[in-house]
């Protein structure tokens, strides 16, 4: 089932949260990647029909999602907020959602959903006693109990440990392989990269890049990198590096050399050779711009 955003914008007064975004989701996993505050949740809320676009249209299977509660038969939404009806047990929570969906065989659907997220051992405990990761999983079970064709998840991996994360990725992968259309928002490249077939990068409310996760990863690694390198003879290394084509700039600073390179791969091969030939010891090397924001801002500028 196709999910389509066409020229969608959302503004609050003078603040533009989402600016003219268009994309179509196809079956499989799509990652919605962007730093915090980029507008990912706003886009998800409009997709799920709980926020009215200021402009443009949002449709699922050709039907507008805004003010059409019937779409929730085919659409599942897992919100970021942890809040659930905490006075229920895990199984009761999933059962409640199944009954509100008017499913024909409630208990079978509940058991299937709970098994899918592997929460069987804790299903009879109150949700209020769950850890953050367990809450995420029971929430997902509750929201996919009706086996929606389209599943939208807002930061689903928050609070999960690496094992739970892998397990959840496997669950989503399984659902996607069975033909579901899944959108997962995240501010962590690695999460999206491992899971998604397609990645949409949102920055400052705009769609900054889109493509397969390989293309996005390429975009993010084939960019100028800046390193701080400390050696036993900074100036000697600097003079050697500046002769290399891959070096864009070298600056001598009190804490070491600040080196900007255009080719990460070649740089990592050239530097050790240079140091060995000049008999200089490398004391430390650290990337100085690896924060996600800098990666994103590079994408926006390019």
């Amino acid at each position: 089932m196709n999910v389509e955003l066409k020229n969608v914008s959302k503004w609050y007064g003078n603040i533009v949260a989402v600016n003219d975004v268009s994309f179509t989701l196809a079956p499989g996993v799509t990652g919605l990647l962007g730093p915090n505050g980029a507008g990912k949740s706003t886009i998800l809320h409009m997709l799920v029909g709980l926020l009215q676009p200021s402009n443009g249209s949002v449709t699922v299977g050709g039907v507008s999602t805004w003010q059409h509660p019937d779409i929730y038969r085919t659409l599942g939404f897992v919100p970021e907020s942890e809040s659930v009806y905490a006075f229920l047990t895990g199984r009761e929570l999933v059962r409640l959602n199944a009954r509100l969906q008017h499913l024909p065989d409630v208990e079978a659907a509940v058991t299937r959903a709970i098994e899918l997220v592997e929460m069987g051992s804790a299903e009879h405990r109150a949700v209020s006693t769950y850890s953050k990761g367990m809450r995420q999983r029971i929430k997902i079970a509750a929201m996919l109990v009706h086996q929606p064709k389209v599943l939208l998840l807002d930061e689903p991996f928050n609070g999960m440990d690496p094992k739970q994360r892998l397990q959840m990725m496997a669950v989503l992968r399984k659902l996607a392989d069975a033909g579901s259309t899944i959108l997962v928002s995240s501010h962590i490249l690695e999460e999206v990269d491992r899971l998604a077939d397609t990645v949409l990068v949102i920055i400052g409310g705009r769609l900054a890049a889109s493509g397969t996760s390989r293309v996005i990863r390429q975009l993010m690694t084939d960019r100028p990198h800046t390193f701080t390198v400390r050696t036993s003879d900074d100036r000697l290394i600097a003079s050697g590096l500046i002769r290399e084509l891959i070096t864009a700039s070298v600056e001598v600073t009190p804490v070491g050399l600040s080196i900007r390179t255009t080719d990460l791969g070649s740089f990592t091969r050239v530097l050790p050779v240079l140091a060995r030939d000049a008999q200089v010891s490398i004391l430390g090397i650290s990337p100085s711009d690896e924060s996600l924001e800098s990666v994103f801002s590079y994408l926006v500028d390019s």
């Binding site: 609050y12 949260a17 809320h45 709980l50 509660p69 659930v84 009806y85 006075f87 509100l100 929201m143």
Partner: protein, 247 residues
């Protein structure tokens, strides 16, 4: 469909959760306890009918009934918006009309039972041995009407503003408490006056004992207007409800 049994069960649990049930039961029990104490230790009452009418119209109608309604109504939309659970309900294939009517029916019914029950028992204790069935039933009916209307109004308020509780209380104190009874014109816009008018119409007591300020017909029409208006407002607000709004 206009009633959803699954949602009704959830609404009931939410309404009675977090010790709310204790507070509303205590509120409803307060006039009963006062009445019992009055009977046990008070001096001989020479005007029991008038005193009951007074007790019912002041503390019960203007404090007990609206506060019970306010607390119950707050458990539905207002606190669900606050704790973020409303999303789970809205992302379901359930019509907004069905959500509003089910929630109103459940919270309103609890309010009606407590309000009418409290008034009824208070009256039975205070007027034991007297022929005052109509008077007690009249005030119980008035309490029931008020409980339902206040619940509907406060449900709508919870969808209009995040400060529903505060505004509801302010409205009770300023409008219903003072302005509503001072001026002729404002009486037709006061739920408390509708309650009193219904009590008066059913009780059929002497003017000396009790007399409402509104004629029954006005009160009935206005009650219907308030109920339908509040329900329509709830449905319209819920349809347009948006989550995750930027600050």
């Amino acid at each position: 469909m206009i009633f959803n049994p699954v949602l009704a069960g959830l609404t009931l649990r939410q309404a009675l959760a977090k010790r709310r049930w204790l507070v509303i039961v205590l509120l409803a029990a307060a006039p009963v306890v006062m009445a019992a104490l009055t009977r046990a230790y008070g001096t001989v009452d020479d005007e029991p009918l008038k005193n009951f009418a007074g007790a019912a119209s002041y503390p019960i109608f203007s404090v007990v009934v609206p506060i019970i309604a306010l607390l119950l109504a707050a458990s539905s939309f207002a606190s669900e918006i606050e704790d973020g659970t409303l999303i789970y309900l809205l992302a379901k294939p359930i019509s907004r009309t069905e959500i509003v009517l089910t929630k109103l029916l459940v919270t309103g019914l609890i309010a009606v039972i407590l309000a009418a029950g409290s008034t009824l028992i208070t009256g039975m204790i205070l007027l034991r041995g007297l022929d005052a069935t109509h008077l007690v039933l009249g005030f119980a009916a008035g309490a029931a009407l008020g409980a339902f209307l206040y619940t509907a109004l406060f449900l709508a308020l919870g969808l209009i503003t995040k400060r529903g509780m505060l505004i509801g209380l302010t409205y009770l104190v300023i409008w219903e408490g003072s302005l509503g009874s001072f001026f002729q014109g404002t009486r037709t816009l006061s739920v408390r006056q509708y309650m009193l008018a219904l009590a008066d119409a059913i009780s059929m007591v002497d003017k000396e004992v009790f007399q409402a300020q509104l004629v029954p017909k006005t009160a009935y029409i206005m009650s219907a207007v308030v109920a339908v208006g509040a329900i329509a407002l709830c449905i319209s607000k819920l349809r347009k409800f948006e989550i995750g709004q930027a600050a």
